[in-house]
Protein backbone atom coordinates (compact mmCIF):
# COMPACT_ATOMS: atom_id res chain seq x y z
CA UNK A 1 0.00 0.00 0.00
CA UNK A 2 2.70 2.44 1.05
CA UNK A 3 6.36 1.96 0.24
CA UNK A 4 9.18 4.29 1.14
CA UNK A 5 12.47 3.47 -0.53
CA UNK A 6 15.81 4.96 0.51
CA UNK A 7 14.18 8.22 1.54
CA UNK A 8 16.28 11.17 2.58
CA UNK A 9 15.11 14.73 3.04
CA UNK A 10 17.60 17.54 3.39
CA UNK A 11 16.57 21.13 4.01
CA UNK A 12 18.88 23.88 2.88
CA UNK A 13 18.91 26.78 5.30
CA UNK A 14 21.09 29.82 5.71
CA UNK A 15 23.03 28.14 8.49
CA UNK A 16 23.68 25.01 6.44
CA UNK A 17 21.95 21.78 5.60
CA UNK A 18 19.55 20.04 7.94
CA UNK A 19 18.85 16.37 7.45
CA UNK A 20 15.27 15.75 8.53
CA UNK A 21 14.94 12.19 7.27
CA UNK A 22 17.79 9.84 6.45
CA UNK A 23 17.87 6.49 4.60
CA UNK A 24 14.37 5.42 5.51
CA UNK A 25 12.86 2.25 4.11
CA UNK A 26 9.36 1.35 5.19
CA UNK A 27 6.41 -0.55 3.87
CA UNK A 28 2.91 -0.27 5.23
CA UNK A 29 0.22 -2.79 4.45
CA UNK A 30 -3.32 -2.14 3.34
CA UNK A 31 -5.78 -1.83 6.22
CA UNK A 32 -3.03 -1.46 8.77
CA UNK A 33 -2.74 1.15 11.51
CA UNK A 34 0.89 2.09 11.43
CA UNK A 35 2.43 4.33 14.05
CA UNK A 36 5.58 6.40 13.81
CA UNK A 37 6.85 7.51 17.19
CA UNK A 38 9.67 9.87 18.02
CA UNK A 39 10.45 12.96 20.05
CA UNK A 40 10.00 16.36 18.47
CA UNK A 41 12.62 17.00 15.83
CA UNK A 42 12.99 13.31 15.01
CA UNK A 43 11.65 13.89 11.50
CA UNK A 44 8.15 12.45 11.91
CA UNK A 45 6.34 15.54 10.59
CA UNK A 46 8.48 15.51 7.48
CA UNK A 47 7.91 11.77 7.07
CA UNK A 48 4.14 12.00 7.13
CA UNK A 49 4.17 14.94 4.70
CA UNK A 50 6.20 12.90 2.24
CA UNK A 51 3.24 10.55 1.98
CA UNK A 52 0.91 13.14 0.45
CA UNK A 53 3.54 15.13 -1.39
CA UNK A 54 3.40 18.20 0.86
CA UNK A 55 7.13 17.53 1.08
CA UNK A 56 9.26 16.06 -1.68
CA UNK A 57 12.12 13.73 -0.79
CA UNK A 58 15.66 14.82 -1.66
CA UNK A 59 16.30 11.24 -2.74
CA UNK A 60 14.38 8.00 -2.83
CA UNK A 61 10.82 7.17 -3.86
CA UNK A 62 7.46 7.28 -2.13
CA UNK A 63 4.70 5.05 -3.44
CA UNK A 64 1.20 5.31 -2.04
CA UNK A 65 -1.83 3.48 -3.37
CA UNK A 66 0.00 2.48 -6.54
CA UNK A 67 1.18 5.98 -7.35
CA UNK A 68 4.64 7.47 -7.16
CA UNK A 69 3.81 10.45 -4.96
CA UNK A 70 7.42 11.59 -5.03
CA UNK A 71 7.46 12.12 -8.78
CA UNK A 72 3.94 13.30 -9.73
CA UNK A 73 2.85 16.93 -9.55
CA UNK A 74 0.10 19.31 -10.65
CA UNK A 75 -3.36 17.92 -11.21
CA UNK A 76 -2.16 14.32 -10.91
CA UNK A 77 -0.86 15.00 -7.40
CA UNK A 78 -4.05 16.90 -6.48
CA UNK A 79 -6.13 13.94 -7.64
CA UNK A 80 -3.99 11.54 -5.61
CA UNK A 81 -4.33 13.74 -2.51
CA UNK A 82 -8.09 13.35 -2.57
CA UNK A 83 -7.51 9.69 -1.68
CA UNK A 84 -4.82 10.38 0.92
CA UNK A 85 -6.40 12.62 3.50
CA UNK A 86 -4.91 14.10 6.60
CA UNK A 87 -5.92 15.24 10.08
CA UNK A 88 -3.88 17.64 12.17
CA UNK A 89 -2.80 18.36 15.72
CA UNK A 90 -4.45 21.79 15.66
CA UNK A 91 -7.39 20.58 13.56
CA UNK A 92 -6.89 23.29 10.91
CA UNK A 93 -10.59 23.92 10.35
CA UNK A 94 -11.77 27.00 8.51
CA UNK A 95 -13.23 29.24 11.20
CA UNK A 96 -15.32 31.04 8.59
CA UNK A 97 -17.30 27.88 7.83
CA UNK A 98 -19.78 25.90 9.89
CA UNK A 99 -19.26 22.23 10.75
CA UNK A 100 -21.23 21.17 7.68
CA UNK A 101 -19.45 23.61 5.41
CA UNK A 102 -16.06 22.48 6.69
CA UNK A 103 -16.90 18.87 5.94
CA UNK A 104 -18.23 19.87 2.52
CA UNK A 105 -14.98 21.65 1.63
CA UNK A 106 -13.05 18.64 0.26
CA UNK A 107 -16.19 17.64 -1.65
CA UNK A 108 -16.29 21.09 -3.25
CA UNK A 109 -12.65 20.61 -4.22
CA UNK A 110 -13.50 17.25 -5.77
CA UNK A 111 -16.34 18.84 -7.74
CA UNK A 112 -19.18 16.90 -6.10
CA UNK A 113 -22.67 18.25 -6.82
CA UNK A 114 -24.50 20.23 -4.15
CA UNK A 115 -27.19 17.62 -3.50
CA UNK A 116 -24.64 14.84 -3.15
CA UNK A 117 -22.51 17.00 -0.89
CA UNK A 118 -25.42 17.55 1.49
CA UNK A 119 -26.13 13.82 1.60
CA UNK A 120 -22.50 12.87 2.21
CA UNK A 121 -22.05 15.56 4.88
CA UNK A 122 -25.05 14.26 6.79
CA UNK A 123 -23.69 10.72 6.67
CA UNK A 124 -20.30 11.84 7.96
CA UNK A 125 -21.76 13.94 10.74
CA UNK A 126 -23.59 10.85 11.97
CA UNK A 127 -20.48 8.70 11.61
CA UNK A 128 -18.32 10.94 13.83
CA UNK A 129 -21.12 11.63 16.29
CA UNK A 130 -21.71 15.33 15.73
CA UNK A 131 -25.44 15.31 15.03
CA UNK A 132 -27.07 18.52 16.17
CA UNK A 133 -23.87 20.56 15.77
CA UNK A 134 -24.09 20.91 11.96
CA UNK A 135 -24.47 24.68 11.99
CA UNK A 136 -22.02 25.47 14.75
CA UNK A 137 -18.82 27.33 13.95
CA UNK A 138 -15.48 25.78 15.00
CA UNK A 139 -15.07 28.45 17.69
CA UNK A 140 -18.15 27.02 19.41
CA UNK A 141 -16.75 23.48 19.58
CA UNK A 142 -14.51 21.70 22.09
CA UNK A 143 -11.15 20.28 21.03
CA UNK A 144 -12.53 16.78 20.70
CA UNK A 145 -15.45 17.96 18.59
CA UNK A 146 -13.11 19.94 16.36
CA UNK A 147 -11.04 16.82 15.74
CA UNK A 148 -14.24 14.93 14.92
CA UNK A 149 -14.95 17.55 12.27
CA UNK A 150 -11.37 17.10 11.08
CA UNK A 151 -11.91 13.35 10.79
CA UNK A 152 -15.26 13.73 9.01
CA UNK A 153 -13.66 16.18 6.59
CA UNK A 154 -10.79 13.76 5.98
CA UNK A 155 -13.22 10.93 5.20
CA UNK A 156 -15.37 12.95 2.80
CA UNK A 157 -13.77 11.77 -0.43
CA UNK A 158 -13.63 8.09 0.64
CA UNK A 159 -9.86 8.03 1.01
CA UNK A 160 -7.67 4.93 0.94
CA UNK A 161 -5.20 6.33 3.43
CA UNK A 162 -5.65 8.56 6.46
CA UNK A 163 -2.61 10.42 7.76
CA UNK A 164 -2.77 11.58 11.37
CA UNK A 165 -0.33 14.33 12.28
CA UNK A 166 -0.20 14.24 16.10
CA UNK A 167 -3.99 14.14 15.94
CA UNK A 168 -4.49 13.73 19.67
CA UNK A 169 -1.56 15.69 21.06
CA UNK A 170 -3.65 18.77 21.75
CA UNK A 171 -6.42 16.85 23.52
CA UNK A 172 -6.94 15.81 27.12
CA UNK A 173 -6.48 12.09 27.99
CA UNK A 174 -10.16 11.24 27.95
CA UNK A 175 -10.84 12.95 24.64
CA UNK A 176 -7.69 11.35 23.26
CA UNK A 177 -9.11 7.92 24.03
CA UNK A 178 -12.46 8.77 22.45
CA UNK A 179 -10.76 9.99 19.27
CA UNK A 180 -8.53 6.91 19.17
CA UNK A 181 -11.61 4.69 19.54
CA UNK A 182 -13.16 6.52 16.61
CA UNK A 183 -10.05 5.99 14.47
CA UNK A 184 -9.97 2.31 15.36
CA UNK A 185 -13.64 2.01 14.50
CA UNK A 186 -13.13 3.73 11.14
CA UNK A 187 -10.18 1.46 10.40
CA UNK A 188 -12.29 -1.63 11.05
CA UNK A 189 -15.42 -0.44 9.33
CA UNK A 190 -13.95 1.16 6.23
CA UNK A 191 -10.76 -0.87 5.96
CA UNK A 192 -8.83 2.37 5.82
CA UNK A 193 -5.04 2.34 6.09
CA UNK A 194 -4.02 4.73 8.86
CA UNK A 195 -0.56 6.20 9.34
CA UNK A 196 -0.10 8.24 12.47
CA UNK A 197 2.77 10.09 14.03
CA UNK A 198 2.94 10.76 17.74
CA UNK A 199 5.28 11.21 20.67
CA UNK A 200 2.99 9.28 23.00
CA UNK A 201 3.51 5.53 23.37
CA UNK A 202 -0.01 5.38 24.76
CA UNK A 203 -1.41 6.15 21.30
CA UNK A 204 0.74 3.46 19.69
CA UNK A 205 -0.25 0.96 22.34
CA UNK A 206 -3.93 1.68 22.01
CA UNK A 207 -4.55 1.47 18.28
CA UNK A 208 -1.46 0.60 16.24
CA UNK A 209 -0.68 -2.77 14.72
CA UNK A 210 2.89 -1.94 13.85
CA UNK A 211 5.24 0.80 14.89
CA UNK A 212 8.39 2.50 13.65
CA UNK A 213 10.58 4.36 16.10
CA UNK A 214 12.38 7.42 14.78
CA UNK A 215 15.42 9.17 16.14
CA UNK A 216 17.38 11.94 14.44
CA UNK A 217 15.77 11.29 11.05
CA UNK A 218 16.36 7.55 11.04
CA UNK A 219 14.02 4.68 11.72
CA UNK A 220 15.84 2.85 14.49
CA UNK A 221 13.30 0.10 15.10
CA UNK A 222 10.23 -1.37 13.40
CA UNK A 223 7.95 -4.17 14.39
CA UNK A 224 4.65 -5.48 15.71
CA UNK A 225 3.54 -3.32 18.61
CA UNK A 226 3.40 -6.16 21.12
CA UNK A 227 6.80 -7.45 20.09
CA UNK A 228 8.33 -4.00 20.41
CA UNK A 229 6.78 -3.64 23.85
CA UNK A 230 8.08 -6.97 24.99
CA UNK A 231 11.51 -6.71 23.57
CA UNK A 232 12.53 -3.15 22.76
CA UNK A 233 15.95 -3.02 21.14
CA UNK A 234 17.00 0.59 20.82
CA UNK A 235 17.59 2.72 23.90
CA UNK A 236 14.99 5.26 22.77
CA UNK A 237 12.40 2.51 22.31
CA UNK A 238 12.99 1.35 25.87
CA UNK A 239 12.32 4.90 27.01
CA UNK A 240 9.06 5.02 25.09
CA UNK A 241 7.97 1.65 26.48
CA UNK A 242 8.65 2.95 29.97
CA UNK A 243 6.16 5.75 29.29
CA UNK A 244 3.39 3.18 29.18
CA UNK A 245 4.60 0.48 31.57
CA UNK A 246 5.04 3.12 34.24
CA UNK A 247 8.44 1.81 35.26
CA UNK A 248 9.79 5.32 35.19
CA UNK A 249 7.65 6.35 38.14
CA UNK A 250 8.48 3.17 40.03
CA UNK A 251 12.19 3.98 39.91
CA UNK A 252 12.04 5.71 43.25
CA UNK A 253 10.26 2.89 44.96
CA UNK A 254 12.73 0.39 43.53
CA UNK A 255 15.60 2.47 44.87
CA UNK A 256 13.97 2.49 48.27
CA UNK A 257 13.50 -1.27 48.22
CA UNK A 258 17.06 -1.90 47.10
CA UNK A 259 18.17 0.05 50.16
CA UNK A 260 15.72 -1.58 52.57
CA UNK A 261 16.14 -5.15 51.38
CA UNK A 262 19.71 -5.55 50.20
CA UNK A 263 19.41 -9.34 50.13
CA UNK A 264 16.79 -10.12 47.51
CA UNK A 265 16.65 -9.67 43.79
CA UNK A 266 14.54 -7.04 42.09
CA UNK A 267 13.01 -8.62 39.03
CA UNK A 268 11.00 -7.13 36.21
CA UNK A 269 8.55 -9.60 34.73
CA UNK A 270 6.99 -8.97 31.36
CA UNK A 271 3.80 -10.76 30.43
CA UNK A 272 2.35 -10.87 26.96
CA UNK A 273 -1.07 -11.94 25.75
CA UNK A 274 -2.80 -14.79 27.60
CA UNK A 275 0.14 -15.20 30.00
CA UNK A 276 -0.96 -12.09 31.81
CA UNK A 277 -3.77 -14.13 33.26
CA UNK A 278 -1.63 -16.85 34.91
CA UNK A 279 -1.40 -16.92 38.72
CA UNK A 280 2.36 -17.35 38.45
CA UNK A 281 3.37 -15.38 41.54
CA UNK A 282 1.15 -17.42 43.82
CA UNK A 283 2.62 -20.56 42.36
CA UNK A 284 6.21 -19.49 43.05
CA UNK A 285 5.40 -18.64 46.63
CA UNK A 286 3.68 -22.00 47.16
CA UNK A 287 6.27 -24.14 45.46
CA UNK A 288 9.46 -22.55 46.70
CA UNK A 289 10.56 -21.10 49.94
CA UNK A 290 10.82 -17.54 48.67
CA UNK A 291 9.31 -14.24 49.68
CA UNK A 292 7.80 -12.13 46.94
CA UNK A 293 7.29 -8.44 47.45
CA UNK A 294 5.35 -6.59 44.75
CA UNK A 295 6.85 -3.18 43.95
CA UNK A 296 4.93 -2.17 40.89
CA UNK A 297 2.39 -3.70 38.57
CA UNK A 298 0.82 -2.58 35.35
CA UNK A 299 -1.28 -4.06 32.61
CA UNK A 300 -2.27 -2.39 29.35
CA UNK A 301 -4.31 -3.39 26.35
CA UNK A 302 -2.91 -3.25 22.83
CA UNK A 303 -4.73 -4.06 19.62
CA UNK A 304 -3.11 -7.51 19.58
CA UNK A 305 -3.61 -8.41 23.23
CA UNK A 306 -2.74 -7.36 26.76
CA UNK A 307 0.76 -6.46 27.88
CA UNK A 308 1.78 -6.43 31.53
CA UNK A 309 4.80 -5.67 33.62
CA UNK A 310 5.33 -6.59 37.21
CA UNK A 311 8.27 -5.53 39.29
CA UNK A 312 8.86 -7.78 42.31
CA UNK A 313 11.50 -8.41 44.88
CA UNK A 314 12.25 -12.10 45.32
CA UNK A 315 14.11 -13.08 48.46
CA UNK A 316 15.16 -16.49 49.78
CA UNK A 317 17.83 -19.13 49.51
CA UNK A 318 19.80 -18.60 46.27
CA UNK A 319 18.95 -22.12 45.08
CA UNK A 320 15.27 -21.59 45.67
CA UNK A 321 15.34 -18.24 43.87
CA UNK A 322 17.15 -19.90 40.98
CA UNK A 323 14.42 -22.57 40.78
CA UNK A 324 11.72 -19.94 40.82
CA UNK A 325 13.37 -18.23 37.86
CA UNK A 326 13.31 -21.49 35.93
CA UNK A 327 9.57 -21.81 36.42
CA UNK A 328 9.09 -18.29 35.12
CA UNK A 329 11.20 -19.06 32.07
CA UNK A 330 9.28 -22.24 31.35
CA UNK A 331 6.13 -20.11 31.25
CA UNK A 332 7.74 -17.84 28.67
CA UNK A 333 7.60 -14.91 31.00
CA UNK A 334 10.48 -12.55 30.61
CA UNK A 335 12.33 -12.05 33.85
CA UNK A 336 14.97 -9.39 34.03
CA UNK A 337 16.98 -8.75 37.19
CA UNK A 338 17.34 -5.08 38.02
CA UNK A 339 20.41 -4.45 40.11
CA UNK A 340 20.89 -0.77 39.71
CA UNK A 341 18.43 1.86 38.92
Amino acid sequence: MITLKDISKIYKTKSGEITAVKDVNLSIKKGEIFGIIGYSGAGKSTMIRLLNGLEKPSSGTVEVNGQQISSISGSQLRQARQKISMIFQHFNLLWSRTVSENIAFPLEIAGVSKAERAKKVKELIDLVGLSGRENAYPSQLSGGQKQRVGIARALANNPEVLLCDEATSALDPETTDAILELLLDINKRLGLTIVLITHEMHVIRKICHRVAVMEAGRVVETGEVLQVFQNPQAEITKNFVMQVSGTKESKESIEQILVNYPTGKIVKLTFIGKKTEQPVIAQIIKEFNVEVNIVHGNITQTTSGPYGTLIVQIDGHPNQVEEAFKVLESREIQAEVIEHV
Binding site: Q79, R81, Q82, M86, F88, L94, W95, S96, F105, I109
Partner: protein
Amino acid sequence: MFNQLLPNVDWQDMWEATYDTLYMTIISTGVTFVLGLAIGILLFLTSPHQMWANKIVNFLTGSLVNIFRSIPFIILIILLIPFTKYLLGTIRGVNAALPALIIGSAPFYARMVLIALREIDKGVIEAARSMGAKTSTIIWKVLIPEALPALLSGITVTAVTLVGYTAMAGIIGAGGLGNLAYLEGFQRSREDVTILATIFILIIVFILQWIGDAITTKTDKR
Protein backbone atom coordinates in the same frame (compact mmCIF):
# COMPACT_ATOMS: atom_id res chain seq x y z
CA MET B 1 -33.19 79.79 10.39
CA PHE B 2 -30.49 77.93 8.52
CA ASN B 3 -30.18 80.77 6.11
CA GLN B 4 -29.52 83.21 8.94
CA LEU B 5 -26.82 81.03 10.49
CA LEU B 6 -25.31 80.13 7.14
CA PRO B 7 -25.80 83.21 4.96
CA ASN B 8 -23.43 82.15 2.22
CA VAL B 9 -24.40 78.55 1.77
CA ASP B 10 -25.84 77.64 -1.58
CA TRP B 11 -27.61 74.38 -0.87
CA GLN B 12 -27.65 73.39 -4.51
CA ASP B 13 -23.84 73.62 -4.57
CA MET B 14 -23.56 71.88 -1.23
CA TRP B 15 -25.57 68.85 -2.29
CA GLU B 16 -23.76 68.64 -5.58
CA ALA B 17 -20.41 68.74 -3.79
CA THR B 18 -21.57 66.04 -1.35
CA TYR B 19 -22.67 63.90 -4.24
CA ASP B 20 -19.29 64.39 -5.94
CA THR B 21 -17.41 63.45 -2.78
CA LEU B 22 -19.53 60.34 -2.31
CA TYR B 23 -19.11 59.41 -5.97
CA MET B 24 -15.32 59.72 -5.85
CA THR B 25 -15.09 57.87 -2.53
CA ILE B 26 -17.32 54.98 -3.51
CA ILE B 27 -15.84 54.39 -6.96
CA SER B 28 -12.25 54.68 -5.78
CA THR B 29 -12.91 52.48 -2.73
CA GLY B 30 -14.46 49.81 -4.94
CA VAL B 31 -11.59 49.79 -7.42
CA THR B 32 -9.02 49.98 -4.61
CA PHE B 33 -10.60 46.96 -2.95
CA VAL B 34 -10.28 44.82 -6.07
CA LEU B 35 -6.85 46.12 -7.12
CA GLY B 36 -5.38 46.13 -3.61
CA LEU B 37 -6.70 42.65 -2.98
CA ALA B 38 -5.14 41.37 -6.20
CA ILE B 39 -1.77 43.00 -5.45
CA GLY B 40 -1.88 41.87 -1.82
CA ILE B 41 -2.62 38.28 -2.82
CA LEU B 42 0.19 38.40 -5.39
CA LEU B 43 2.58 39.70 -2.73
CA PHE B 44 1.48 36.95 -0.36
CA LEU B 45 1.66 34.07 -2.81
CA THR B 46 5.07 35.07 -4.17
CA SER B 47 6.62 35.45 -0.72
CA PRO B 48 9.08 32.74 0.41
CA HIS B 49 7.64 29.26 1.14
CA GLN B 50 4.31 30.14 -0.48
CA MET B 51 2.68 28.50 -3.46
CA TRP B 52 4.08 30.89 -6.08
CA ALA B 53 7.30 31.71 -4.18
CA ASN B 54 9.22 34.00 -6.54
CA LYS B 55 11.85 36.41 -5.31
CA ILE B 56 11.89 38.64 -8.38
CA VAL B 57 8.14 39.16 -8.72
CA ASN B 58 7.84 39.64 -4.99
CA PHE B 59 10.64 42.19 -4.90
CA LEU B 60 9.34 44.18 -7.89
CA THR B 61 5.74 44.24 -6.68
CA GLY B 62 6.82 45.07 -3.15
CA SER B 63 9.03 47.92 -4.40
CA LEU B 64 6.25 49.43 -6.54
CA VAL B 65 3.86 49.26 -3.61
CA ASN B 66 6.38 50.94 -1.33
CA ILE B 67 7.17 53.69 -3.82
CA PHE B 68 3.56 54.67 -4.44
CA ARG B 69 2.75 54.36 -0.77
CA SER B 70 5.53 56.77 0.09
CA ILE B 71 4.66 59.62 -2.29
CA PRO B 72 2.56 62.25 -0.50
CA PHE B 73 -0.87 62.29 -2.12
CA ILE B 74 -0.83 65.95 -3.07
CA ILE B 75 2.42 65.38 -4.99
CA LEU B 76 1.07 62.18 -6.56
CA ILE B 77 -1.86 64.15 -8.00
CA ILE B 78 0.51 66.57 -9.68
CA LEU B 79 2.80 63.79 -10.93
CA LEU B 80 -0.19 61.98 -12.41
CA ILE B 81 -1.56 64.98 -14.34
CA PRO B 82 -0.01 63.88 -17.69
CA PHE B 83 -1.23 60.31 -17.14
CA THR B 84 -4.78 61.48 -16.31
CA LYS B 85 -4.79 63.79 -19.31
CA TYR B 86 -3.72 60.91 -21.55
CA LEU B 87 -6.31 58.59 -20.02
CA LEU B 88 -9.36 60.89 -19.88
CA GLY B 89 -8.42 63.84 -22.07
CA THR B 90 -9.01 66.26 -19.21
CA ILE B 91 -7.80 66.94 -15.69
CA ARG B 92 -11.04 68.52 -14.50
CA GLY B 93 -14.07 66.87 -12.96
CA VAL B 94 -14.71 64.00 -10.60
CA ASN B 95 -13.54 61.28 -12.99
CA ALA B 96 -10.18 63.01 -13.40
CA ALA B 97 -9.56 62.52 -9.68
CA LEU B 98 -10.09 58.76 -9.82
CA PRO B 99 -6.69 57.64 -11.22
CA ALA B 100 -4.82 59.54 -8.53
CA LEU B 101 -7.18 58.34 -5.79
CA ILE B 102 -6.86 54.71 -6.83
CA ILE B 103 -3.11 54.76 -7.45
CA GLY B 104 -2.65 56.54 -4.15
CA SER B 105 -4.71 54.12 -2.07
CA ALA B 106 -4.41 50.69 -3.75
CA PRO B 107 -0.78 50.12 -2.64
CA PHE B 108 -1.73 51.24 0.85
CA TYR B 109 -4.56 48.73 0.90
CA ALA B 110 -2.38 46.01 -0.69
CA ARG B 111 -0.10 46.25 2.36
CA MET B 112 -3.07 45.78 4.66
CA VAL B 113 -4.21 42.79 2.58
CA LEU B 114 -0.75 41.26 2.92
CA ILE B 115 -0.82 41.70 6.70
CA ALA B 116 -4.31 40.19 6.85
CA LEU B 117 -3.28 37.15 4.79
CA ARG B 118 -0.17 36.57 6.87
CA GLU B 119 -2.41 36.30 9.91
CA ILE B 120 -4.15 33.24 8.46
CA ASP B 121 -3.17 30.03 10.21
CA LYS B 122 -0.62 28.28 7.95
CA GLY B 123 -2.13 24.96 8.95
CA VAL B 124 -5.43 25.83 7.27
CA ILE B 125 -3.68 26.46 3.97
CA GLU B 126 -1.74 23.24 4.40
CA ALA B 127 -4.99 21.39 5.11
CA ALA B 128 -6.52 22.74 1.89
CA ARG B 129 -3.43 21.66 -0.05
CA SER B 130 -3.58 18.21 1.53
CA MET B 131 -7.13 17.89 0.20
CA GLY B 132 -5.92 18.52 -3.32
CA ALA B 133 -7.06 22.14 -3.65
CA LYS B 134 -5.84 24.25 -6.56
CA THR B 135 -4.27 27.61 -5.83
CA SER B 136 -7.34 29.39 -7.22
CA THR B 137 -9.56 27.39 -4.86
CA ILE B 138 -7.27 28.31 -1.98
CA ILE B 139 -7.52 32.01 -2.90
CA TRP B 140 -11.32 32.07 -3.15
CA LYS B 141 -12.25 29.55 -0.49
CA VAL B 142 -9.49 29.88 2.08
CA LEU B 143 -7.47 33.09 1.85
CA ILE B 144 -10.30 35.58 1.25
CA PRO B 145 -12.94 34.09 3.60
CA GLU B 146 -10.45 33.42 6.40
CA ALA B 147 -9.00 36.94 6.21
CA LEU B 148 -12.34 38.65 5.56
CA PRO B 149 -12.77 40.59 8.83
CA ALA B 150 -9.27 42.06 8.50
CA LEU B 151 -9.83 42.75 4.78
CA LEU B 152 -13.06 44.59 5.57
CA SER B 153 -11.71 46.65 8.44
CA GLY B 154 -8.76 47.49 6.19
CA ILE B 155 -11.01 48.74 3.40
CA THR B 156 -12.95 50.80 5.94
CA VAL B 157 -9.77 52.56 7.01
CA THR B 158 -8.87 53.03 3.34
CA ALA B 159 -12.31 54.46 2.53
CA VAL B 160 -11.98 57.01 5.32
CA THR B 161 -8.53 57.96 4.05
CA LEU B 162 -10.02 58.30 0.57
CA VAL B 163 -12.59 60.82 1.80
CA GLY B 164 -9.62 62.91 2.91
CA TYR B 165 -7.90 62.38 -0.43
CA THR B 166 -10.99 63.54 -2.36
CA ALA B 167 -10.80 66.81 -0.48
CA MET B 168 -7.20 67.21 -1.58
CA ALA B 169 -8.12 66.25 -5.11
CA GLY B 170 -10.51 69.20 -4.96
CA ILE B 171 -7.48 71.47 -5.25
CA ILE B 172 -6.93 70.43 -8.87
CA GLY B 173 -10.54 71.07 -9.62
CA ALA B 174 -12.02 67.64 -9.08
CA GLY B 175 -15.09 68.96 -7.33
CA GLY B 176 -16.54 67.68 -4.09
CA LEU B 177 -16.73 69.10 -0.60
CA GLY B 178 -12.98 69.81 -0.41
CA ASN B 179 -13.15 71.84 -3.57
CA LEU B 180 -16.15 73.75 -2.27
CA ALA B 181 -14.50 74.50 1.05
CA TYR B 182 -11.36 75.67 -0.72
CA LEU B 183 -12.93 77.80 -3.47
CA GLU B 184 -15.99 79.16 -1.69
CA GLY B 185 -14.91 78.96 1.92
CA PHE B 186 -11.24 79.79 1.88
CA GLN B 187 -10.68 81.91 -1.21
CA ARG B 188 -13.84 83.97 -0.73
CA SER B 189 -13.62 83.95 3.08
CA ARG B 190 -17.01 82.38 3.63
CA GLU B 191 -16.33 80.48 6.88
CA ASP B 192 -19.86 79.11 7.13
CA VAL B 193 -19.34 77.16 3.90
CA THR B 194 -16.06 75.70 5.22
CA ILE B 195 -17.68 74.66 8.48
CA LEU B 196 -20.69 73.07 6.82
CA ALA B 197 -18.46 71.22 4.33
CA THR B 198 -16.44 69.93 7.29
CA ILE B 199 -19.59 68.73 9.04
CA PHE B 200 -20.72 66.94 5.89
CA ILE B 201 -17.34 65.24 5.53
CA LEU B 202 -17.46 64.15 9.19
CA ILE B 203 -20.91 62.69 8.70
CA ILE B 204 -19.72 60.74 5.66
CA VAL B 205 -16.71 59.42 7.61
CA PHE B 206 -18.84 58.38 10.57
CA ILE B 207 -21.32 56.56 8.38
CA LEU B 208 -18.53 54.76 6.51
CA GLN B 209 -16.87 53.70 9.76
CA TRP B 210 -20.18 52.53 11.19
CA ILE B 211 -21.03 50.44 8.13
CA GLY B 212 -17.51 49.01 8.03
CA ASP B 213 -17.53 48.05 11.71
CA ALA B 214 -20.97 46.47 11.46
CA ILE B 215 -20.02 44.28 8.48
CA THR B 216 -16.67 43.32 10.03
CA THR B 217 -18.32 42.18 13.25
CA LYS B 218 -20.95 40.23 11.37
CA THR B 219 -18.42 38.28 9.30
CA ASP B 220 -16.13 37.42 12.22
CA LYS B 221 -17.06 33.96 13.52
CA ARG B 222 -13.87 33.38 15.50
